[in-house]
């Protein structure tokens, strides 16, 4: 197994700032917009984006929730991987809001497909956008594309893209791992 650094800490921080600015461009003061981090790995990125919006760009009342898609996945009973559920926490109304899904890596698009179904349990959003740090293009199984992307990569299926966060793994780095 070999791994190479795709993005180092500085590059990650630059990209996070850019993504935050792009969000502000489209959503201004976020009165009609809510952020939803996709469990389990999207929540770190979502928290960072919220922190930037609040601390650096002084936008107040940015609402952030976490959505777990385990029970909405389409591979239940079809893969050997055991699906572990995580906490869903959406303490606000989704009805008629602009929802921004946040996930670290967009790969096949199946997680986002599940999230699109799952979020409807909380109401009918006005529109849904997708923000991801890494977009693995050419790997999609479904017609799903991000609205905001950090970096596009052409990793092949045998490779894995791993996003590490300071609060979890001790560093902000993106690796491409050759399995």
């Amino acid at each position: 197994m070999s791994q190479k650094v795709l993005l180092n800490a500085t590059e990650v921080h630059i990209i996070l700032n850019r993504l935050a600015c792009q969000l502000i461009e489209n959503h201004e003061d976020f009165t009609d917009t809510v952020l939803i981090g996709i469990q389990p790995r999207g929540i770190f990125l979502a928290e960072r984006i919220k922190q930037l919006l609040t601390d650096t760009y002084k936008i107040e009342n940015v609402e952030l929730g976490y959505l777990d898609i385990t029970f909405f996945r389409d591979d239940f009973r079809r893969s050997e991987k055991i699906l572990a559920a995580n906490k869903t926490q959406i303490d606000f109304v989704v009805e008629n809001k602009k929802v921004v899904f946040i996930d670290d890596v967009l790969y096949t698009g199946r997680s986002i497909n599940a999230a699109l179904t799952a979020v409807q349990s909380f109401g009918r959003p006005k529109e849904v956008e997708l923000l991801c740090l890494i977009d693995r293009r050419f790997s999609r199984h479904l017609p799903i594309q991000p609205d905001y992307r950090g970096r596009q990569v052409d990793a092949i299926n045998e490779e894995k893209v791993k996003v590490s966060w300071v609060e979890n793994e001790g560093e902000d780095t993106v690796y491409v791992i050759n399995k």
Binding site: D68, T70, F71, F72, R73, F76, R77, R78, I82, L83, A84, A85, N86, K87, T88, T117, A118, Q120, S121, F122, G123
Partner: protein
């Protein structure tokens, strides 16, 4: 997250502490799901479940059916009263006929102890025991423990007394297994005639005095007197039973601590507990019912995950 160690849920006796922990973690997630505006997930959309009730039931049947529907399973219901069982069909024949309609899981209540275990040896579908005679009622015990955990934070180390008709109660036996497995201290309390002979061999103490039992416990699980299972008289009169083993508000108020009151239902108000106790803040009877759906969803989901495509 690991997976359940069993293919069927036939009784608490057959599962491990890790299984219980996994069921509770999953139930936490489902409890959140059933409090959403839309309370349904699509996980079991390609699973068919047969609810076979060879004995009467209200809340267990409803609770299972709701849990199955919340998981998007296809559900068929069968009750013995309106079936060919009355025409002399055997259990295996009845179930095999139902299974030939491509059913993946069976939820069964049966008056005979061991019916679930027997069936599991003859059919391929996953079986959930929804009560077999006076033997076990595992999902009730799980939802009872889950409700204790929710109210008191943990089951381990808590003092729990089960009061009433222990002899005829599958709820009591499953609860004893479940509580002991999680490290709770368990006493049983009731008339001596309603105590099974070798109850101490399960690691529980018998306390014949209700007041002493309540002073000792953190949680009292009040059971109904199962008249329908009694072929002889086990105590002189209902009035005397109530005087000795009924809990009323005055008795609770006279204790030096606030204990949690549970009841698996159906309640005989004025017999084992009075209405003011059943409807008080100390009682978590309706929480038990709500948790029942979440716990049963967790059990069905985890068992279904073991049925491979």
């Amino acid at each position: 997250m690991s997976e359940l160690s069993v293919k069927h849920l036939l009784g608490i006796k057959y599962i491990t502490k890790e299984d219980i922990d996994l069921i509770f973690q999953t139930a936490d997630n489902f409890k959140e799901v059933i409090n959403r505006p839309i309370k349904k997930v699509p996980s079991l959309r390609d699973i068919t479940i047969a609810n076979l009730f060879f004995e009467n039931s209200t809340r267990t049947k409803l609770s299972f059916e709701l849990a199955e529907k919340r998981l998007s399973a296809d559900v068929i219901n069968f009750s013995a009263a309106a079936s060919s069982v009355k025409k002399g069909e055997t259990l295996i024949d009845t179930v095999n006929n139902i299974l030939s309609m491509k059913v993946d899981m069976v939820v069964m209540r049966h008056p005979n102890p061991g019916a679930g275990v027997f069936l599991s040896k003859h059919i391929n579908a996953s079986i959930v025991n929804a009560g077999d005679g006076a033997h076990e009622h595992p999902t009730q015990a799980l939802l009872d423990s889950y409700s204790i955990r929710e109210r008191l934070g943990d089951v381990g180390g808590k003092n729990v007394v089960i009061v009433g008709d222990i002899l005829h109660s599958r709820v009591a036996l499953s609860n004893i297994y479940a509580l002991k497995l999680q490290g709770a201290n368990v006493k049983v309390c009731g008339p001596k005639t309603l105590m099974p002979k070798y109850i101490e061999s399960l690691g529980v103490e018998v306390e014949l005095n209700l007041r002493k039992a309540l002073e000792w416990c953190d949680v009292a699980n009040m059971l109904r007197v199962q008249n329908e299972r009694m072929d002889i008289s086990y105590f002189p009169s209902t009035r005397e039973y109530t005087q000795q083993y009924g809990v009323d508000k005055a008795l609770l108020n006279s204790l030096d601590k606030e204990i949690v009151i549970m009841h698996p239902g159906p309640i005989n108000r004025g017999v084992e507990i009075t209405s003011d106790v059943a409807d008080s803040d100390q009682a978590i009877i309706l929480n038990q019912v709500e948790n029942g759906v979440a716990v049963r969803m967790a059990v069905l989901y985890l068992l279904a995950s073991k049925i491979k495509q």
